[in-house]
Amino acid sequence: MARMKFLCDADRCIECNACVTACKNEHEVPWGINRRRVVTLNDGKPGERSVSMACMHCTDAPCAAVCPVNCFYTTADAVVLHSKDICIGCGYCFYACPFGAPQYPKVGNFGSRGKMDKCTYCAGGPESDFSTIEYEKYGSNRLAEGKLPLCAEMCSTKALLAGDGEMIAQIYKQRVIKRGYGSGAWGWKTAYRETVAI
């Protein structure tokens, strides 16, 4: 059984934001909601690195744990999804999420922020696959089409890897061995309690 993960090779990431707009394009995500984003560390200084970040679909996901209404579930591919029918928009998942993934359609007060939205690993939601309603609530369901998340598929330098955790770790390892450097699998320790050993 595949265990889906994301891995951003920061030595390849050039902050081109293709992942961000690919996500918008695929799911028609409105302005103000960024399921994926690119953060630049050490900006303008030697050692500067950019990292593309979205929901990492954690092992034992903290969002799912703290959710007061248990609206999260993990698929067989280890993708962490949630039901917008049950979500009450309380925002606890944002506090617990190490990666700032949850987004809310309204900003301001807690009372009516709308249903939480986050990266679905292009795997839709609890509604039946390819239904209109699934698309409108969660975006398209590429995984069920046998495709991977579009952000990773369109990454300009192939920095962002998506797929089975072991496979992408292997790809990353080979890259690091080949080129002789690598700043590590960002967020893996926090998300999966493991890291890619080189």
């Binding site: 920061a10 030595d11 103000g32 960024n34 984003r37 690119v38 953060v39 630049t40 560390l41 050490n42 900006d43 200084k45 030697p46 050692g47 500067e48 690195r49 950019s50 990292v51 970040m53 903290p62 744990a65 703290v66 959710c67 007061p68 209404v69 248990n70 609206c71 039901s83 029918d85 049950i86 979500c87 009450i88 928009g89 309380c90 925002g91 606890y92 944002f94 506090y95 617990a96 999420c97 190490p98 990666f99 700032g100 301001g108 007060n109 807690f110 009372g111 009516s112 450097y181 700043s183 590590g184 960002w186 967020g187 320790k189 926090t190």
Partner: protein
Amino acid sequence: MRRTLTTFRTLVAATILTAAVGASSTSFAQQTRDGMNPTGQNPTAESVNEEFLFKQDPKITGRISIPDGKAAHLIQPAGRDYRDFRERWLPWLSALAVLGAVALLGLFYYFRGRILMERGPDTGRKILRFNGFERFAHWMTSSCFIILALSGLNYIFGKRLLMPLIGADAFGVVAQYAKFSHIYLAWPFMIGVALMLVLWLKDNIPNKIDIDWIKAFGGFVGDKHPSAGRFNAGQKMVFWMVIGFGSAMSVTGLMMIFPFALTDITGMQLMQVIHALIGIAFIAGILAHIYIGTLGMEGAYDAMGSGKVDLGWAKVHHDLWVEEEQAKTASGPQLGRHQVPAE
């Protein structure tokens, strides 16, 4: 004891966390200025990595072009600690606090029983203890409190207790409305707390009499009644608990109603922790208050119900206050005979 310690540790950790953020950001800024000219350096060789950044700051923060400050935090592992608190400790703590309070009160009831009114010469005569406005303030605050407490507990226990019973869909709806009520009824609650502060502050200033009252265990043990003014030390404690916890809940609650308005993610987590911890303590405290006001003492409910108490009872429990009131009006507010409540 271990549990309280852990709670304390979580709190302390959270505080240190916030302090550390401030401290490390200054050192980072200095570094910025020094490392100004990267001429001649090999940017590939010196890339930053997670380990290095986590040494500088418990969360990794960078630059992002979208105007959303939250998004600039790349990784904040503190979310894991928050989750630990919320899922591992909080349910047990709150269960212990609430059930513990109920159990203690049960024990107290079992051993002490209902405190019955002592019959005396003034039994049957009434004295106005709380006027209509005071009662209004009390009931507004307390009714809101009950809803807030229940909806608050729902955040912790709903999915564990209610959801299996009624199913996810129904629970989703219930939780949604519980959330709405929690947010919106917080406002009358806050107003109520403020009103109570204004109404009863002058009668709740601690004084020497309170020490004697406490020394005498408030008369709960034994049958001698210590003197007390309008409010005895126990009631004052309830008052100050309501004011203190109420305002703490209000401040943290407001911070949470307007997320990220004044603080960042670490602050939000801290607010959550404080709100939850005080919340359960508050609930436990108020349970005791409810017990004494209703079941614990004979005819208690009518004190806040009608506002009038039995003069005899008042003379026993609040002798100084009765003297004061009777000094104001020669006749005193003596009303018809009735069953006499207390609080």
